[in-house]
């Protein structure tokens, strides 16, 4: 049943997504949806690499590399968008190959930290050298050229909706590739690596090769999003591609739930993109509310939203929440308290502990 149902659900979902700009006429909302889509894709690719055991903080950097490369190629190189697109993605992939070859030699923190530093360096480079426009960035990045259609007319890129569909095309490609990867031996190897490095090696999985492959693919996809973004927003600033964004990408993933490869990131990206916008009314409080929301979701929904929705009974949920508030989780931890009072307290807690652990 699963397979069939999923296929229908996915098709329905796709149709709805495709129809959205027709239903929601306001360009502002379409703009929001574009952002959500882009962030979802970024989050999805992040999750893919995360499941292979790599917490990649350099994704925002490649997003930026893609954006800047395409901007430079079109603005200063005179290329049209449709040539710049494959060129930029290819260039970014090559950069990813070089950088990745150095980075993925290590795993765990030995990978995370250098990738974070890379995330710092890239926007700094873009912001420092005048050729990239410096602090201010680049402006008037040209829109994609219109695609001539048979019959005389052409697809123009001026309205929000047109960009929406362009992005949708990209997003579909990315998702299809992602899912194919997950289902292939590559995906299987990644999952194995993510679960146990040692065992994966023992069955003959070449960790370096698969990590590098993942890194390049993910970076190229991020770059693809960057190319789109550059031409969509027509001006790019180095600051938007820095470590901030890198962390936000992780947030989209975690809040949505990393157990789910596609839907989780969409939800996470959706929430984190929409809420700050929606709360613009209360502009003064907005970041605070977003921040508080992030913290609350982290505390109360440890598996992210999709993890939470993954079949929890109401009783389990409330028991869990109460347990959290009472801090019973940490009581179970390895902190010993020597004094008697604590032991007595522990005893009392021990009783209710059983009830809680039964329920969740």
């Amino acid at each position: 049943m699963s397979r069939r149902w999923k296929l229908w659900a996915a098709t329905a979902f796709f149709l709805i997504v495709a129809a959205l700009p027709q239903l929601v006429r306001s360009p502002y909302y379409v703009h929001l949806m574009i952002l959500i889509m882009m962030n979802s894709v970024l989050a999805m690719t992040f999750v893919m690499l995360l499941r292979a055991g790599l917490l990649n903080m350099s994704m925002a950097a490649f997003w930026g590399i893609g954006a800047y490369t395409s901007a430079m190629l079109t603005l200063k190189g005179g290329l049209s968008f449709w040539w710049s697109l494959p060129a930029s993605v290819t260039i970014s992939a090559v950069i990813a190959l070089v950088v990745g070859a150095i980075l993925v030699r290590n795993s765990g923190l030995g990978f995370i930290i250098p990738s974070l530093i890379f995330a710092f360096i890239v926007p700094l480079v873009f912001g420092t050298f005048r050729v990239f426009g410096g602090h201010v960035g680049l402006i008037r990045v040209p829109a994609p050229d219109s695609i001539p259609l048979p019959g005389g007319s052409a697809l123009m890129f001026g309205s929000e909706a047109s960009y929406y569909y362009l992005l949708l095309a990209f997003a579909v490609i990315v998702v299809v590739v992602l899912l194919a990867l997950y289902r292939s031996w590559v995906g299987r190897a990644w999952r194995a690596m993510g679960l146990s490095n040692d065992l994966a090696q023992s069955v003959g999985i070449n960790l370096f090769r698969y990590r590098l492959l993942g890194f390049v693919i993910v970076s190229a996809m991020a770059a693809l999003m960057g190319v789109f973004f550059a031409h969509y927003s027509t001006n790019i600033q180095p600051g938007s591609y820095g470590p901030f964004k890198a962390i936000y990408i992780q947030m989209y993933a975690i809040l949505g739930g990393i157990g789910s490869p596609v839907i989780g990131p969409i939800i996470g990206a959706g929430i984190l993109t929409v809420i700050p916008e929606a709360l613009r009314v209360v502009k003064n409080f907005e970041p605070m509310v977003t921040g508080a929301l992030i913290v609350l979701i982290l505390i109360f929904l440890p598996q992210g939203i999709t993890g939470f929705l993954d079949g929890r009974s109401a009783r389990q949920t409330s028991a869990y929440l109460f347990g959290l508030l009472r801090g019973h989780q940490r009581e179970k931890a390895y902190s010993l308290r020597g004094d008697r009072q604590a032991l007595e307290g522990e005893g009392k807690l021990g009783e209710s502990d059983d009830v809680e652990s039964e329920a969740g």
């Binding site: 194919a180 990867l181 190897a189």
Partner: protein, 258 residues
């Protein structure tokens, strides 16, 4: 009978500590060689070096004539050496059947491109592997648990699953690091039976074990290590009577009566 594995003057030093010193060892085809010794004798280190997880300080490890030293672990695994780790290392959050299928990695024939362009071929191979994985699970007796998560399994079953994964790699040489530790007598008998069957299929086995009964029972030959040095070698009976071996074990472990 051919020599599958030959170890020459293998030495491993960790800073000031010598874990293994000048070890010479031969493993013949289709035999079960036991590697025993008191705790800390260097047995697991030897396994680590053979399987490529640690690099020897000096010496050679020849597998069918090829020197393994310096090769990365995955390459050694691809050559046909599989290892059962001392602590059950498993892919905890995926079903048992999947665990075994991962083991077929080095034997797969369809690559990344197949998932796009040769869908039928890929799908056929999937089903083939599924069937083979089930076979292996039946062989070790876990077929009924194929959809369980390893983290939910009791210790004995986890060991069997680890064994199943190693079998999936279709190894020529199997390194078993304490396969029966922590098992109850029934599980133990089962494991011994399975190991024998594996050997009967032509797979060469090297066994590290503390349970002397088992060692005496299934090993064709035994090598004894103490503080990283080989102190005895021969049939289990010979070794058991060697005074130096007894001295090494005196006061330690379970040296069962033959």
């Amino acid at each position: 009978m051919g020599v599958v594995l030959e170890i020459r003057k293998l030495t491993k030093r960790f800073g000031g500590l010598t874990a293994v010193l000048d070890l010479d060892l031969r493993v013949n085809e289709s035999e079960i060689l036991g590697l025993i010794g008191p705790n800390g004798a260097g047995k697991t280190t030897v396994f680590s070096m053979i399987s490529g997880f640690q690099r020897p300080t000096s010496g050679q490890i020849l597998f069918d004539g090829q020197d393994l030293v310096g090769k990365p672990a995955f390459a050694i695994a691809s050559l046909g050496i599989a290892r059962l780790f001392q602590h059950s290392v498993l892919f905890g959050n995926i079903p048992v059947l999947e665990n075994v299928i991962v083991g077929f990695h080095r034997n797969r024939t369809s690559g990344l491109l197949s998932s796009f362009f040769a869908r039928k071929k890929a799908r056929l191979q999937e089903e083939e592997f599924k069937a083979q994985a089930l076979e292996i699970l039946e062989f070790v007796g876990l077929a009924g648990l194929k959809n369980e998560l390893p983290i939910n399994l009791p210790h004995g079953h986890q060991r069997l699953l680890s064994l199943a994964i190693t079998l999936a790699t279709k190894p020529r040489l199997l390194l078993l690091d304490e396969p029966v530790t922590g098992m109850n007598p029934k599980e133990l008998k089962e494991m011994v039976r399975i190991i024998r069957l594996i050997r009967d299929r032509g797979i060469t086995i090297m066994l590290v074990e503390h349970h002397m009964r088992v060692v005496m029972d299934i090993c064709d030959r035994v090598t004894v290590l103490n503080y990283g040095v080989k102190i005895a070698e021969g049939t289990p009976q010979d070794v058991c009577r060697d005074p130096e071996v007894c001295a090494a074990y005196l006061g330690k472990g379970t040296f069962g009566v033959a």
